[in-house]
């Protein structure tokens, strides 16, 4: 599998560390109800198909990446840097 890092270019999967689903980006407010934190930390759509998940280019530029890809075919549909993502960070 190869991911195209927006900074480094196309790289082998071994350069990246996977974290998990995009859910981890949507951190609830500190006082959000327990259900929100349970969903944030644990519960997942886990689709057989297109998903968005988080990868870290730790053997490269240290970017966290938001990857859109298909879990059945392994096709990579899009890669963007988490820090530069649409909607932006806090």
């Amino acid at each position: 599998m190869r991911l195209t890092c927006p900074l480094c270019g196309a790289r082998d999967r071994r350069e990246f560390t996977y974290y998990g689903a995009e859910d981890y980006l949507n951190r609830p407010a500190p006082d959000a109800p327990p259900q929100a934190w349970d969903d944030y930390l644990h519960n997942r759509d886990n689709p057989a198909g297109v998903t968005r998940d988080l990868w870290y280019h730790d053997m490269g530029c240290s970017s966290w990446l938001l990857v859109t890809r298909n879990t059945v075919t392994h096709e990579i549909l899009a890669v963007e840097a988490v820090a530069d993502r649409k909607g932006g960070a806090a």
Binding site: D12, Y19, R27, L41, Y56, S62, E75, V82, A89, A90
Partner: protein
Amino acid sequence: MRLAGKGLIDRGQPVTFTFDGSTYQGFRGDTLASALLANDVRLVGRSFKYHRPRGILTAGSEEPNAMVEILEGNQQTPNVRATVQEVFDGLAARSQNRFPSLKFDLLGINDRLSPFLSAGFYYKTFMWPRPFWEKLYEPLIRRAAGLGSLSRQHDEAQYEKAWAFCDVLVIGSGPAGLMAALTAARAGADVILAEEEARMGGRLVSDNLRVDGQPGVDWVEGTLAELRALPNVRLMTRTTVTGAYDDGTFGALERVGLHCGPAPHLPRECFWRIVAGQSVLAAGALERPLAFPDNDRPGIMLASAVRSYLHRYGVVPGHRIALIANNDAARATARDLMAAGVKVAAILDTRPDASVVEDCPVYVNAQITGTAGRLGLTSITFRHAGGSATLEVDTLAMSGGWNPTLHLTCHMNGRPLWREDIAAFVPAPDAVPRLTPAGACNGTFSTAGAFREGQDAARRALAALGRSAPDLALPQAEDAPYALAAYWETPGVEGRQWLDFANDVTTKDVKLSAQENFRSVEHMKRYTTQGMAPDQGKNSNVGALAVLADATGRGIPQTGTTTFRPPYVPTSIAAMGAGGRGAGFAPQRFLTSDQASRDRGAPMIEAGLWYRPSYFPKPGETTWLEACNRETRMLRDSVGVADVSTLGKIDIQGRDAARFLDLVYTNTFSTLPVGRVRYGLMLREDGHVLDDGTSARLGEHHFLMTTTTAAAGLVMRHLDFVHQAFCAGWDVRFTSVTESWAQFAVAGPKARDLLATLLGEMPDLPFMGVADVTLGKVRARLFRISFSGEHGYEIAIPTRFGEALFRDLVARAEILGGGPYGMEALNVLRIEKGFITHAEIHGRTTAFDIGMERMVSAKKDCIGKAAAARPGMTGPERDQLVGLKATSPMGAGAHLFTPGDRVHRETDQGYVTSVCYSPTLDAHLALAFLRNGRARHGETIRVVDHLRKIDILAEVTDPVFHDKEGVKLRA
């Protein structure tokens, strides 16, 4: 038998080799199989289950029978295909899976017992009495099974792995592959042409084919000459593409040094990772055997293999040969043999309407009903349109048609499609993205068709790459239609008809599996083991499927097919694991003090990837404990020096740096004054402790964070995530400076004296203070922090001066009665002081467990705060950090019980994490997690370590044993 003047071997280079102790001669270019056949050796192995005599079936890597063991000692290599292994001077090959000899194998008895050893018999017996399985049945089965043997010695040979990138990867160098490569190469694309065999050309060099009116071999040589001259082409022979992986990545195995004897640094094999923009699969096709009674005798071979041996090696495998086939194409075998002057006894054609016009007898509607010859074929018996007959032959060439070599197209879950006209599976379109099959592997069997498809595939690849294809005329070659009538087994006869030669699976086994309702093709495969042998069903899958389809009354497409998985050919662990041997498995990280520690005889132990000194032995000390006790006392009494450079160091700068630390630490850093250091606790978002360490404020907007050695990388990744995901717009940047600074702990009552002599002027540094200092012209940093509980410092210096400073510090310490100390003493010192490490922060620990819940600031949010508030994360039912004190040793990993309770999981009260003998307190100490432990200080607890046979009582205490008030620390 070798024919004069035939073949592509180098007759100028004779080669001497042995098989089962007998010496033979071959020529450079021979495979072991061709050389053995040239020497009239037919019996080469025994089958897996019934130990039946077996010969050479094929001329390629799909060989199921002719597997031998070569070389000796730590070079011993089992299961080598005689059809792939090239001969070289001194090659010693042995047959395997036989005892005492190949000709007389005691386990040949299994063949007689075969009625009782049918498919799946072992699931139905050997159940009683229960202990007999491990003691009797299983050892017997294990000894009988298996093929070759590993030497049990370390494989010390050289292997390598490498990367290659190209625009177009062409897999296979027959007519389709060569045409594809030539087309792509002329268009200027970077081309890799990978060929499994030592010689390029595929069937063009194995058959008597003509291209543009010339011998096929000549066209191959001409094309290769052009390709070799092009700078954008890389020709890789002896290279099997083993797997198709995502995004144009392929695995490939190159047999680098296997065709010659071992040489220094010469790899046996290289495992390639090839990344291709586009690829063309031109892997050809594999001829199918036919099933008929006793179709597995030495001397019964694939028709195409007979032609390969004839044309490539100038070898004919026998003196009187017959051919059985269900197609026209195989007849070339008989014609080529006759042209070479070899006697062809007959052609048996299974088709009723086949032509009878040949220069030898032809029998149509022929079906073989039996064969004879214990160790090699002597005759065949068959029925045909006009009756039945027996023929004395020593060789039978057979052809059941061809299966496209589509394996790679299944590696990404592609499901092949059945084509009734050729009675074979072909690749599904686009089964592997950006890969185009061409030629025989695509079900197109004529040479002209292969040229055409090869060129088309290259054009398709070039178009996808945005390149225009060259105008290249197709060579002229035979374009005969592939006339075949499916034929799978001889109907209505007794006797066993082999499908899977390597695993001894017969048509009866397949029918039995259907009878027992193992009707799914996967059930049949698993129940009979058909297709699970070293050839992975390359020779038998389609035949078995046809028999199963027949037995279940379904068609072949409805019956389905099993999945081909990588690797295409069995691939050595050593090749794919090249570089992993010994220290190569992971990088080694060395401290600047490494040599200085070794000079003092310190044993170096692994700490993650680092090597750290365990202790520094003195003359007269015989155990590590003596040294450790001395070093501990030394530090408590005078001064010790330790290299602590392995701790992670992260430089954090920016106007939002303090704010950022407040987010990642449970406690507050924005209030920390410049020039001061604070202990910080970091949680994972799930509320458990991630790491701890100190952070120093070097300036208003400048911090230096310290992590544990174990979590340095983890913390950096965590900080990067928190920053990029939640606050990318903040003015904060962090950079690892772990490697930039060597850092040494100097601790003990005389630490200040030592540093005063070093620095000249000792800065007035409060406990948890930091200051810049200079050593001559070298800038350094001095921290007043302590992991030992003593008055202590850590001094950091640019790494290039690390070794010099360490040696200097140690020399100064020794003048003061101190010296260096290692990991063992460091561990004792921190346990005495109740400091935790990753023995305690093991990933299941909460701030509450270690008594630090008050360090989770109520005034601010931090990572992990919300999850740490879950009900299960705090409370008296949790195990809490305590100290244990005893008069005899305790073991880390021991469990705790209330005295009087029975020892059982249900009464378990906790466990010990760290232990030491404390020379300071002359007691055995431990840190432990105890159920509701903070409320139990002063209690007596039972410490049970079954494994180390320790069962003692200990006193539960506060985890800080030494200088609880911190008087020494602050002195």
